[in-house]
Symmetry: C2
Subunit: 277 residues, 2 copies
């Protein structure tokens, strides 16, 4: 299979669901016609063999699923609705037609579930599989959930128990519906990809506040500085009603920006840092 064949096979499989996608796969760029009174949000995320996954543990469909899920998790964290995505994919020498088809089946199944159009991307080769996903989402003007709005007195929530569940780890489900439910309620929001210790520190830094955390719901044998939870972390005034499944873990305080106390003791800023591996 050559590039022209793969691209035309893909273009044949993909049915666009958003009329705003004027032109998708096959040109130098995808063309998107934005709506009035809507902000667009953009994220990009690597998924690299040897760093984020191994091919003896992940099936090709798992890899396709997770490549997109990583981007969708950031869209959820902004309280946005997914619109379209672009995928850069470098194939390894032993990725045959069956591997490629299975990869795209995992990818496109998740894309269909969350109504994301695959609008283009890039193809390359490498000695191992490399993915980089771009996702665009939309929110009503000015309504995106940022990291910098937490205020002293807010409660802090997470969307589920932290730590890796093996199935979820390979096929994480982005919290899109929850992100939408938090619009207009949360004061700050982000997804937990590098571990609660590091991510809550980042949220507090961005908002210029501190945090005191008491009850962190951890899976058995897990710690707070592992990453890849794909749960949401958010803050909200205590009087607002929290969505179903929300777990309160503490509150925002005044104090040195970025400082996080766990049961009264400073929590070390530790988590997954790509530059220190």
């Amino acid at each position: 299979m050559n590039e022209i064949e793969l691209v035309s096979r893909l273009a044949g499989k993909v049915r666009s669901v958003h009329p705003a996608l004027i032109s998708g796969i096959g040109d130098d760029c995808a063309i998107w016609r934005p709506r009035v009174n809507e902000d667009l949000v953009f994220t990009t995320d690597f998924l690299l063999e040897g760093v984020h996954f191994e091919r003896d543990i992940y099936s090709p469909a798992d890899i396709g699923h997770k490549a997109l899920a990583r981007g969708l998790s950031d869209i959820a964290a902004m309280g946005a609705e997914p619109r379209f995505c672009l995928l850069s994919l470098a194939l390894a020498p032993d990725c045959d037609r069956r591997w490629i088809d299975s990869f795209y089946s995992g990818f496109l199944k998740l894309a269909k579930r969350f109504r994301v159009d695959l609008a283009g991307g890039d193809l390359s080769h490498s000695d191992r599989v490399l993915c980089d996903i771009v996702v665009c989402g939309a929110v009503p003007k000015g309504r995106a959930l940022r990291r910098d709005g937490a205020r002293a007195g807010d409660s802090i929530f997470v969307s589920g128990r932290l730590g890796r569940d093996w199935r979820e780890y390979r096929r994480p489900v982005p919290r899109i519906e929850l992100g939408l439910a938090l619009r207009g309620r949360a004061t700050a929001c982000m997804d937990l990809t590098d571990g609660l210790s590091l991510d809550l520190h980042r949220l507090c830094l961005a908002s210029g506040v501190a945090a005191a955390v008491e009850n962190v719901p951890l899976r058995k044998g897990q710690t707070m500085d592992q990453g890849e939870d794909y749960e949401l972390l958010w803050t909200m005034p205590a009087r607002r009603k929290s969505p179903q499944g929300a777990i309160r873990i503490g509150g925002i305080t005044t104090g040195r920006p970025g400082l996080v106390l766990l049961n009264g003791e400073p929590l070390p800023v530790r988590g997954y840092d790509h530059l220190q591996q």
Copy 2:
């Protein structure tokens, strides 16, 4: 240097030029507020060590420059003005602070020249340097230059001599101004990244036409199936005035879609194909 430090250093260096960029580096997503009556165009391109460059030949600033230039070349091919970009970057173990600074200096110098805001991205590590660039550009509604508008009778042009010039190869200059000049004049346009033989075939396929080519301006010792020219290829009704520097290489004809004749003989569809390396 850890991720938080690198991201905050970067955020400090970057001065946004577009007020439409509501929020850039540092959140889960960048936020962009689109204008009415404007279409947005999007492209993504890998630049991988061992595939697209070697570090003993490319300086870090060359790599930063070229990572962005590849994306900007696609924006030029759509007749669009660049707006913002996102960069996914995986660093190799021996990329120290000096390497990283030099990489971003090459990247940000080109970004400044073409008024592109660096709005975010992803950081990771790998055994070699991996870049994936996303660029967003804007065109007046419905005015993007696509590949599928070439009509029999149109002339075919390229923007310069084809084949690699060593300096340009490391620091290609995207043809942004030319792309803008072609808006409303060209019927189809693309950039020449995989070689004229393959790219003209693609343009003809997309437009459902054939082509007859006579005089192809090649650099000494070069062929038509090498890629990475970063020149534009476009078609235009013969009566329209061609922009300065345009070189006419032939004309669009009726005939089997995708067929390209060179001096009356079929030109083999050959060029840089990532899936056949």
